[in-house]
Amino acid sequence: MSFSAQSGPAMTGSHPSFRLPRLGGLKALILPVLLFLTWDLLARRDVGHGMIFVSLADLGRALVEAVRSGDLPRNVGVSLLRVAFGLVVGGALGVLLGAAMALSRPLDRLLGPVLHALRQVPTLGWIPLLGLWFGYGETPKLLIAAKAAMFPLLLNAYEGLKGAKAIHLEAGRVLGFGGWDLFWRVRLPSALPMLLTGLQQAMAFTWIACIGVEILFGAGPGIGSMIEHGQIQGRMDTVLLGVVFVGLIAYAITALSNRLIAPALRWRELKEAS
């Protein structure tokens, strides 16, 4: 009854979302540009009264204002800090737990089923409960971030360390490796690709979870809260600004992490191109 025997709906598993698309050059921009122009036109004709369509000029103004007042940088910064917290705390916990479970069969049998059941509840589902327990402050947001970071890393650390091939462990023994050496020089390096993938997943999930909890709670700083405030005030320009930045940062996280982990994965056989 091992932990990873089933994958629950809350996990995306190996999803091609980390492969970024090859854009078809200029043609790809045609539709977005058209969309923006239509949007702009309709806004200027005041269709929807500023609640739906925003003129590009207004959008630009909102951007400048948000940057100048320090709102945008502050909100982005706070959200990112929460993500960082979640990754460090939740991530470390996840890796440690996953490693412990991979190395100790009794622990695996004990915790595995319980964790698997808990995994079925999506991160967002915990928000009202945490809100009940901790109110609207910083604590529940940080806890959600930690939770979102924990599971992908736990799962990947577990699979990675468990999946160390017996043939390599044996080769290590022949070379005189003892228990510690076998872990440090065989299990860990062979688990590294999965760990790094887990880290990528954790970063993406934690970003989403942070935004989610900020939107649902609405109070306090953060990009999600900014978007939510915008919606309450009926200001599409703020909302749109927030959405664009959420998307940009999500893209940046994926792109950067791909770049960073590539050298560590050099030794793997390339099974598929790009």
């Binding site: 043939i167 390599h168 062979s190 050099r266």
Partner: protein, 286 residues
Amino acid sequence: MSSITSPVARRPAPTRGGALSLSGVGKTHRLAEGELEVLRDVHLSVAPGEFVSVVGASGCGKSTLLRLIAGLDNAYAGEIRLDDERILSPSLDRGLVFQDHRLFPWMTVEQNVAAALLKRRLGREAKRKLVAENLALVGLTGFERAYPHQLSGGMAQRAAIARALVNEPKVLLLDEPFGALDALTRLKLQEELLALRRRTNATVLLVTHDVEEALFLSDRVVVLQPRPGRIAQILTVGASARERTSPAFGRLKEELLAALMAGPSPAPLDLARRRQASSAAGGGVG
């Protein structure tokens, strides 16, 4: 002609090789369905610097025997000694080359060979030198920074051999090392192994199912019979039989093949033991 089981008299070898002695070695697997006797009563002495091949059909226990000598498994009956010390666990004294090269995929060729030196107290420069020397020995100079997945089967196996040799082991164990390679590469590597052997003087124990390979490389060939694995015969390969095209080679090859085809039949020694055992109402071995 089959020969006696005592080691061949040789010129005193320059000390590197170790002397192996196996007495009464047996191994039984405990399975759900019962017990499976894999090896029974193996007696063998290998002189320092000798090259001995072990041949046999699949399932005759030859790989198991090698693993016991390597020290990967210490649940067996009987004794295995290297230079009079009992073998209980893996040690750098005994190098092992697997059929699948088992290079660590996350390390370069250089790092793989250096991994064998991890447990040695040597300076960094000394280690680097050793690695370079052994890579040169197997003809892989220039490929230090390559990763295993970039190497061909033959090259990877060469790297594995370098890794096994870098510690100047007393005994070199090879488990069907060329089985996974194509015929041409196999022939080439056999030649190289012979050359290597001349240069390093280690005692070599090679497990193979390729009869010609065994005859080409070894001083003696041990034939193992399956179910359970026992020594059926030991042939000595004289100097005249070294050439693949010589008549002596051909004759030995036929003899070996005949011995292999003969199938499970109780060895004379075995019959005597059985009579003893049945009269004492004793159980099996293991």
